[in-house]
Amino acid sequence: MQAPFEPLTILIAEDSAADRMLLSSIVRRQGHQVLTACNGAEAVEAFRQQAPQLVLMDAMMPVMDGFEAARQIKALAGETLVPIIFLTSLTESEALARCLEAGGDDFLAKPYNQVILGAKIKAMDRLRRLQATVLEQRDLIARHHEYLLNEQRVAKAVFDKVAHSGCLNAPNIRYLQSPYALFNGDLLLAAFTPAGDMHVLLGDFTGHGLPAAVGAMPLAEVFYGMTAKGYGLSETLREMNAKLKRILPVDMFCCATLLCLSFQRRSVEVWNGGMPDGYLHCVASGVRTPLPARHLPLGVLSPQTFDDRTDVLTMAVGDRVFLLSDGVIDTCDANEQLFGVERLQQVFAANHQPATLFEEIEQALRDFRGEARDDVSMVEVSLLEAAKLTPPALVYSDSGQSCPLDWSVSFEFRAATLKRFNPLPYMLQLLLEVHGLRAQSGALYSVLAELYSNALEHGVLGLDSSLKRDASGFARYYQERNVRLDALHDGYVRVHMQVVPKGEGGCLAIEVTDSGQGFDVTRVMERPLDGVRLSGRGVSLIRQLSRSASWSDDGRTARVEFYWEALA
């Protein structure tokens, strides 16, 4: 593109009066403005005051020579390109090199040739404009970059408010994430359920930057919202998958591992969709059981084909679940070799101090790659004694004036519903309308959940709890549960809840009846109250947490009562 002619202001520094006069005429005839100087010092001063765009500079001048003047003018010009053409009859290459070293951009030999001078001025002007454009664009890019960083800061601040509403600071969670992991698509969430279980999600969105971060917000909202209401992993997973499928473009999805750690049942429920293997580390045996991906990532399958089946594994106090993002095993060295699972397992094997595992993995990655990566996320969750964790108290916003105090309700959930619907959150919400019960919401939810799962699993599905005697039976039990639930045609679970006022306080009675075979109540009740055995723990738990618990109708009906006193 030919730039339209724009006259330049050109400084001519030349001590010979005749040469100066001649050169001024030539340059003026070419349409430019001329400033003149008789020596280097005058040239620097003229540049300082009138900022010419181009300089024609004699090399040999009294007071200050052209080399020094060129150096000073280049220093004053800074980033702006002010081309300097040396006027010289110098022919020795050494002298010409001195001109270049002093910052000269070209030469013009005496005697002057006006055609060549015109061409050189034009060429230098092009260079000058090019440099100006480059600087302009560089500044523009810098401004855009600053703007983008600021947007990311704001987005991160907003997101941190959402993400940190959870319990990542609980004493049993250790994690490592880049502060800007969100913009690498990595997502780590943790929250307590009303029953005191802990849900943990480690996710990895496809892509980088803002696109990878946008999906995180709705995912976090579903996770926290549904966990707080008492929904299990399956319902939460279904909802997250459906939501991401709806809002994300086809080529975007979220690999994720979800955990439900139950401190009371001493088990962990796992769903892994597309993430690297997690590991369940049994401290007693030293064995690390892989938790492999069994599903496609969230946001890929339609709600109809999505598979929410989970695996359940037993844990002992002190056992740990370790999850990691693909940044760990996909780290490449200089030869494009992957860090890989084997090297990770070597780090595991060499680890003696659980507290230093993250540092050891990071060190191994640094040693392997030669530098640290910023898209490595790791989390380790350990199983503590239930009593050592205190889930935060739920916050309610209503005044209590409209609290229901004298009512009863009955539900019957039949086969088709039992297969796919979890009524617990709904029932819990209903009960928590009663202000007096809120203080014991954790116990209430735990008991309700146990009664319901006993009725469903042992009653309707006829599963034998003695299967859960050991860890392998435990896993088999939950596989069998899924199979029988899929095949279920008949059966029901009935729930009857009754709230009656008693003085300033009140009483809640819950009765759960199932369509199953019942059990030998006397034999089960003879067992000591003991929270550690894997099988039959539900009954112990119920008896410990509720004021009174009794079974009738050959074990087909369970009844528990909760009381509350006057509220302060």
Binding site: D15, S16, A17, A18, D19, M21, L22, S25, I26, R29, D58, M60, L87, T88, S89, L90, K110, P111, Y112, Q114
Partner: protein
């Protein structure tokens, strides 16, 4: 005779570039050259001599004083190599060459002034 001292092609090119200011350019060259010759004569060290000769060479070549530029170049080289014996003779030659071309430039100046005056009269 004139061709070995003065390049007339250069002079006509200068006249075209300078237009009205051509006589003033010739005048400036004459005055400037006298100053430079004075400097040459009194220079007593090689560096000073080299610089003065270099500058004089440049303007002489611009003005088409071929022989003068050649002599200045020779002086510049000798000063550079510090072979200063017989240098006074070379300065004398430069003096002589300028004395020879000076009237030519003055005549050229008068010619162009007259031409200019004639052109203006019509």
């Amino acid at each position: 005779m004139a061709d070995t001292h003065l390049d007339h092609n250069v002079l006509s090119a200068l006249q075209e570039v300078m237009e009205d200011e051509y006589p003033a350019l010739l005048d400036t060259f004459i005055v400037d050259s006298e100053e430079r010759l004075r400097l040459l004569r009194k220079s007593d060290d090689a560096a000073q001599l080299m610089n003065a000769a270099h500058s004089f060479k440049g303007s002489s070549s611009n003005m088409g004083a071929i022989r003068l530029a050649e002599l200045c170049h020779e002086l510049e080289q000798r000063a550079k190599q510090r072979s200063l014996s017989g240098i006074e003779q070379l300065v004398g030659e430069i003096d002589g060459e300028f004395a020879l071309v000076r009237p030519l430039y003055e005549a050229e100046r008068l010619r162009s002034l007259a031409l200019h005056a004639t052109a203006r009269r019509f």
